[in-house]
Subunit: 374 residues, 2 copies
């Protein structure tokens, strides 16, 4: 199927790494890469309105096929005019296929060649989800980018099981391509292969033959040590076509993003900024601060003087500490706004550095191989 | 002490009622009356940012002396530059004295002529609060309007107890006036007297002699039937000076506000809009809707077509219903924005009707005496 609406424009590369700055064009606008994408699983980024989200610098927002299928259902969202209209976000969107979520239901699902079958944790009904169903649902949701339905092996898992899952993922991908109905949605393939670099490489080579509009590395950040993520990304990325966007799924710490960008990845997502916020924690220049701590009780400075976000421009650490101690929900909103802005700014500043050929110079601290998950 | 910063400008009266439209000038800007004021007890309006609050049409916001004394403490707020700066609200503010909250701690407080003594529900420490302390704290918080520390009798209570509390409130008021240190804060007196109209009238007459910059009716909405609130307001309001703002404390249903405005009251506050929001309920043109109900699951219209708020302009009833069912906190924010806008619009539309001399004509449904608490 011809894809008319998507292109990846390449602007600059870092002379010492494979890092690149580009623009991924979608029907709902451009995504300037490298870019962190906030997660809006259930058609909202937790505690943040779309208007607040625009101000963070967010360009592309994620939602989740599995969760939205269970509630409120793709029929309703299609009737509402699609996910963008339903949730009030007019920028680019991406839906994950639900593969990862279905396989996480380890005790209440079975997987066969035909597809996955699981018991809804919401109401107990049995749901059968072959790859075709995930694509049909994603066609109804209407995100700009949709993801193939993959089998995501856990970590640890034995090599044979990972190899079988990776091969099945490839067969399912071909069924996904067959099932996909909309030319205004780009279907990305997902490279699986666990921590086995040869399986990753073989999978990448197979996928690239299918000439998809974008590629993702999936099945990382499932419990393996951070240095293995780095190795997987370094081994896999060079095999993906340079003229297509590359998305590293579920990764969003500073170090993991910097390392992956150095390897040539473009897009990232992670629940960290909103999850940390709900635990009263802020991301500040590479660190995690627990705003509940007594040291912040009388600290009348902004979270980060250099941050342009609404929270930093209008409130102090002492105020955020007060809201958290008072169990005021507004704390979560203000911290989410800051944390999302922070991770987007981090990727924006890397982009700028790449364009100025200063990436390695400015980000060398993050580029050191490390066992630290920073 | 001379008050230089406060004046009440009278614009129009309704020819059939005592309703009036005016402007109350404060150091942080004007308040156009009649007006509903959102409640920000702990230095935030629950789930709503100041930027969102401006967009609701809010002019004056409340906070609470008792709660802020317990946490984070007036010293910190003073060090932050006062309540406005601390919470990021640059418009007019009012602090309630904490009298109502202290007297609500019925089992862990004692009241003597000197003042109230209570055990902090937060950390168990014993706190002594004479009227002078409430005023000192309010001087430190720095709201535009501060309230006298009053003794608020419960309902029901016997007449002698109410009379004694009312007289003590008057003696405490004189101590409050003596203790008050800032000319940029208007100290309002509070008329008590329970449901006894003669006690209310005597109290009002005493208070008016003190020539305060504003007056409040307190001790209503504490459990008595709504028709008694109407009677209290109707009997008391005419005794208050016409050139001073009049504030009916803790009242904010459509009917109660309309009735009180007809009697000549100007300012209202109530936790209803944010509390209803946290229960998944919306105020729509005079009704309370439970957005969790199945009837809204597939309803793709806005909450209220005629409402200009962010929620109504961007989201459907089905989306709000989805967020509530998914336990997404964003639902509370979106419903709070709408509910606050709704009650402010209600008082704004009454103001407009008074200015056009159409108040009785347009609001006759709300002006019928009623046992309904609508």
């Amino acid at each position: 199927m011809a894809i008319d609406h998507f292109s990846f424009e390449h602007h600059a590369s870092c002379s010492h790494t494979k890092a690149r700055a580009g623009t991924f064009h979608t029907p709902h606008g451009p995504v300037h890469t490298p870019r962190f994408m906030p997660v809006g699983t259930l058609a909202n980024v937790k505690t943040v309105t779309p208007a607040q989200l625009y101000d963070t610098g967010a360009e592309m927002v994620l939602a989740n096929t599995y969760h939205l299928h269970l509630q409120p259902g793709e029929d309703l969202i299609a009737a509402a005019g699609g996910l963008h209209k339903f949730m009030g976000w007019s920028g680019p969107m991406l839906t994950d296929s639900g593969g990862f979520q279905v396989f996480s239901l380890s005790k209440i699902r079975t997987i066969a060649e035909e597809g996955a079958t699981f018991r809804s944790p919401r109401d107990g009904r049995i749901i059968h989800m072959p790859p075709e169903a995930s694509i049909r649902i994603q066609n109804q949701l209407g995100a700009d980018v949709i993801m193939a339905f993959d089998e995501c092996p856990p970590y640890p898992a034995d090599r044979d099981a990972v190899a079988a899952a990776t091969q099945r993922t490839y067969r399912w991908l071909k069924r996904c391509i067959e099932a996909h109905q909309r030319t205004d949605q780009a279907l990305f393939g997902i490279v699986q292969g666990g921590v086995h670099l040869d399986l990753r490489q073989a999978a990448a080579e197979q996928l690239v033959q299918l000439d998809l509009p974008g590629y993702a590395i999936g099945g990382v950040s499932v419990g393996e040590p951070p240095e293995l993520i780095e190795k997987i990304v370094q081994a896999t990325t060079p095999l993906l076509p340079p003229d297509k966007p590359r998305y590293l799924m579920g990764v969003g710490t500073y170090r993991e993003m910097a390392q992956a960008i150095a390897a040539g990845m473009d897009l990232f997502d992670c629940v960290i900024p909103t999850r940390f916020a709900r635990h009263g924690a802020a991301l500040v220049q590479g660190e995690r601060w627990n705003l509940k701590n007594n040291q912040f009780r009388r600290d009348l400075t902004p979270l980060d003087e250099s941050c342009p976000c609404y929270t930093c421009k209008n409130f102090t650490r002492a105020y955020l500490c007060h809201l958290i101690h008072a169990h005021e929900i507004l704390a979560y909103t203000l911290l989410s706004i800051h944390n999302i802005t922070e991770l987007i700014r981090f990727t924006q500043s890397i982009r700028k550095a790449i364009l100025q050929n200063q990436f390695v110079e400015k980000f060398h601290e993050w580029l050191k191989p490390s066992k630290n998950n920073g």
